[in-house]
């Protein structure tokens, strides 16, 4: 059997620095290949070569046995390769059908040729969707669809173009668990239809579940390859980072102390959260688990003063929390948002400007800002959060890897000396190595006496890190588990409200 796509000694240098080197691999037709590796391991460069964005500097690619050297994204598309990214290439103001036909609308005959044949378009779109067993109305505009449904539209578009190889790059980052399940069914469907899939993700359990084979990249090299049966998750991690990661999660250095930092009593916002009560103590890491839409992120925004609450009471060290984010930061809150690009960082501003923004008013000297103190603060933060960066003053945050960007988002709060950190999905899009550094940082913050409220949709993470886990469902806190009683099945069950957990 010939491979659908074959790499022979493929390599790519950037100004003499190899991003991918001497990579040889066969991708058999009709299989799902899981491609894993840390950020910067060369996955993106490899995908860009397949997609015709960059040309290899060494070796070659073969597509169905023929030399394949795409000069543009259009060449790759014409060959039958489709990409599905986390940022979708869809038009949210158009309908599902229009999105499918955007590069070739069916036309009315004869003199009416300038006009789109809307009925033909609708019927053919319905046909494509039915072939995928997708239950999507072709006439709906995309902005009324959920992120998961939009992703399915993207898949439908790939199929509509008769793609033979479909590449998924971190497709689940913005999906709910249910949408993720649906996506996985769609991927199973693709395999059953004889399509080939490359699936790239940091969520190793998903890779393991979906893939037939695994390929691991590290420092631009293919360091591991084989059937999925040979790769359990510890081996995947080991291969990716090139050493044994004895524990991704830190052993907690100090136990939680007595005094409550955050006390929430009966907090309600109609339709968002209902009668939420919880307490975070000094030195404690409280996990907040729940499905998307369960009210966990909404609770964080209300606590930070970004959205209003109708009833109830939230206190920080005994003082009621009031006002907007500015006042609450002064009271001792810090908020690491789930959207670091949109809400956490000034992407084109320097690392230093980002790191010093929340505390900028404290860095005043007798004559305006004190440039030395700003530089010193940024430098000290770089060391504290173990930031890998060259030039704090000139390098824009955009140039950092996801993990290092996240370290900036957390680090920028430290000079404001927060008593309570709210961290919403602190390791989203962060590779394993940086992830364990961020966990270490969180442990140190707790050991120094801050309280941490950690929101995550990865239960593993919460179970590895937290002292207690509260579960939210439909706006309510439905259960709280102590570390000694952590039980994956029961926590997930309470998130779905299938059973009640232990009341705290």
């Amino acid at each position: 059997m010939t491979a659908l796509l074959r790499f022979e000694g493929l390599g790519k240098d950037w100004f003499g620095v190899p991003a991918v080197r001497d990579l040889s691999l066969d991708i058999p037709e009709g299989r799902v290949l899981g491609l894993i590796g840390e950020n910067g391991a060369g996955k993106s460069t490899l995908m860009n070569m397949i997609g015709g964005i960059t040309a290899p500097t060494h070796g070659r690619m073969l597509w169905r046995g023929q030399p394949y050297a795409p000069a543009s994204a259009a060449d790759a598309r014409a060959a039958g390769i489709a990409f599905i990214h986390q940022e979708l290439n869809l038009f949210t103001n158009l309908t599902v059908a229009e999105n499918l036909f955007i590069d070739g609308f069916p036309r009315r005959p004869g003199l009416l040729r300038p006009f789109i044949d809307r009925r033909a378009m609708r019927d053919r779109a319905a046909e494509v969707l039915a072939r995928l067993a997708l239950d999507l109305p072709p006439e709906r505009t995309l902005d009324s669809l959920s992120p998961g449904e939009r992703q399915l539209v993207e898949i439908a578009r790939a199929l509509h173009h008769d793609a033979a190889l479909i590449i998924f790059d971190e497709p689940t980052t913005s999906l709910t668990p249910r949408e993720t399940d649906r996506l996985f069914q769609a991927i199973e469907g693709l395999r059953a239809a004889g399509k080939t899939v490359i699936y790239i993700s940091h969520i190793l359990a998903d890779v393991q579940r979906l893939s037939d084979g695994i390929a691991v990249l590290r420092d631009g090299r293919l360091v591991g390859e084989g059937p999925v049966a040979d790769f359990d998750i510890p081996r995947m991690i080991r291969t990716m980072i090139g050493r044994d990661l004895a524990a991704v999660y830190p052993s907690r250095t100090a136990p939680p102390r007595g005094r409550p930092v955050l006390e929430v009593q009966g907090l309600s916002a109609p339709g968002v959260i209902e009668d939420v009560s919880l307490t975070v103590r000094e030195g404690e890491i409280l996990g907040l688990f729940g499905l998307m839409g369960s009210g966990r992120s909404e609770l964080a925004r209300i606590l930070m003063g970004l959205d209003p609450a109708m009833r109830g009471d939230a206190r920080l060290l005994g003082h009621p929390l009031r006002g907007g984010p500015r006042d609450r930061i002064r009271q001792g809150l810090a908020f690491v948002t789930e959207n670091r690009r949109e809400e956490g960082l000034m992407m084109d501003a320097s690392i230093r400007d980002n790191l010093t923004l929340p505390a900028i008013e404290r860095l005043r000297g007798p004559l305006g800002l004190d440039a030395d103190r700003i530089a010193d603060t940024a430098q000290a933060l770089r060391e504290t959060v173990r930031l890998k960066a060259q030039d704090l003053a000139r390098q824009p945050v955009r140039s950092l890897s996801g993990g290092n960007q996240q370290k900036v988002v957390i680090g920028k709060w430290l000079p404001t000396e927060p008593r309570l950190f709210i961290l919403d999905e602190p390791t989203r899009g962060v590779d394993v190595g940086a992830r364990s550094e961020i966990y270490g940082l969180m442990d140190r913050l707790a050991a120094e006496g801050a309280g941490l409220l950690v929101i995550s949709s990865e239960l593993d993470e919460l179970m590895g890190l937290c002292d207690r886990i509260s579960v939210m469902s439909r706006g309510e806190v439905v259960a709280t588990f102590d570390r000694a009683r952590f039980d994956e099945r029961r926590i997930i069950a309470s998130a779905f409200r299938q059973a009640e957990g232990d009341a705290a």
């Binding site: 930061i329 809400e343 960082l345 501003a349 400007d353 929340p358």
Partner: protein
């Protein structure tokens, strides 16, 4: 010999430093200044009048008031907004100020104006001759317009373009209504001196001349220059060296992230619009003093084009988050030089505006190119 000839010529490494030098020049703070000097030196042989002391003095005297107004626009653009109402503010405040401090009011001109008998009488305005009170009143009126603009943008989340367009129309019309489109003259000498008074002048000519002809005395340091330079230095320090300035940049770079980081976003937006209107007001003083009259239509026509053009050419980004006072200083110099040189070529105003429009387009393209370069280098 042959061995040397067959040595492969490294084509790309030679091209790379050149490209990098070009990129660095394009991203440099001083780029527009080099551009201005280059333009000047290239045109000088063709257009010798350009370099005469009289023309240079004229050029600078045109630059100062424009700089003052563009400084305010720089702040607004840095937060990602635009202030279209600056010209209308100039019309309003110059008229209002002139009416208040005029030393006489000719009834044949002003008797139909709504302010006649209210702010200005036959023997002058209610603050006749009182320079400082008059200036204060102008600044208050300017600040009020900025406050309304800023409040609408910040608290009602309206687009700056829309809000200031409405201000441009209504404030401009209000200013014209105030005097029924008449100019107000009879300004006190102390006011006129702000626009025309010179502190240091140079005379270039034969030494033994008993009486220096006025035309050969060229003003070098004027009150207008002093006002503009002082304001530029102050606003430079405000933007670069204060928490307020850093927060202005943060709001422009990412408003949501700034809000979550505790930046008082709304307060900053309001203050920036107030600042912009205040700058326009100071510009109004300089322009109307030079004209020796308050004129409701002073900031109309292509004035807006000049302000926005100069600011954008300087390098302040239309997308927000990037702006520097120094850039705007250079942008104003370039723009004034451009207008001046086109004037000297005896082009009609239509031609001049067509060229100016093209140059602003080029500047906007340059902004896009710079943004790409920065991202590419990252």
């Amino acid at each position: 010999m042959t061995a040397m000839l067959t040595q492969p010529v490294p084509a790309t490494p030679a091209a790379r430093p050149l490209r990098r030098t070009l990129a660095r020049a394009l991203l440099s703070d001083w780029f527009v200044l080099w551009l201005t000097l280059a333009y000047f030196l290239i045109l000088l042989p063709v257009l010798p009048t350009l370099g005469t002391p009289a023309n240079l003095a004229n050029l600078l005297s045109n630059a100062w008031p424009l700089l003052v107004v563009a400084l305010g626009q720089t702040f607004v653009m840095t937060i990602g907004g635009i202030d279209l109402s600056q010209g209308a503010v100039i019309g309003l405040t110059s008229t209002l100020g002139a009416a208040l401090i005029a030393t006489a009011g000719p009834p044949e001109v002003l008797s139909k104006a709504p302010i006649w008998g209210l702010l200005i009488f036959e023997d002058g305005g209610v603050l006749a001759g009182q320079l400082w009170l008059g200036l204060l009143a102008m600044l208050l009126a300017g600040a009020l317009v900025g406050l309304v603009n800023g409040t609408l943008v910040a608290w009602l989340d309206m687009p700056a373009f829309m809000v200031t367009l409405v201000s441009l129309i209504t404030v401009g019309a209000f200013a014209i209504w105030l005097t029924q489109s008449e100019n107000i003259r009879n300004l006190p000498d102390s006011y006129v001196a702000l626009g025309k008074g010179e502190i240091v002048s140079v005379y270039i000519g034969p030494k033994e001349e008993p009486q220096i002809p006025r035309r050969q005395v060229h003003e070098l340091v004027t009150y207008a220059a002093l006002v503009a330079v002082t304001l530029a230095v102050a606003l430079h320090l405000l933007l670069e060296r204060t928490a307020f300035g850093r927060q202005v940049l943060a709001v422009g770079a990412n408003r949501r992230a700034a809000e979550i980081a505790g930046v008082p976003v709304r307060r900053i937006i309001v203050l920036v619009f107030v600042l912009s209107s205040l700058c326009a007001t100071v510009g109004a003083v300089l322009y109307s003093a030079r004209l020796e009259a308050g004129r409701p239509t002073l900031g109309e026509g292509t004035f807006l084009l000049d302000v926005i053009g100069a600011t954008v050419i300087g390098g302040t980004s239309l997308f927000g988050g990037k702006g520097k006072v120094l850039w705007t200083v250079f942008g104003v110099l370039f723009f004034v030089l451009l207008s001046n040189s086109l004037n000297l070529m005896n082009l009609s105003t239509f031609h001049i505006d067509m060229v100016k429009g093209g140059v602003i387009l080029a500047a906007a393209l340059l902004d896009v190119a710079r943004t790409r370069l920065l991202r590419g280098m990252a």
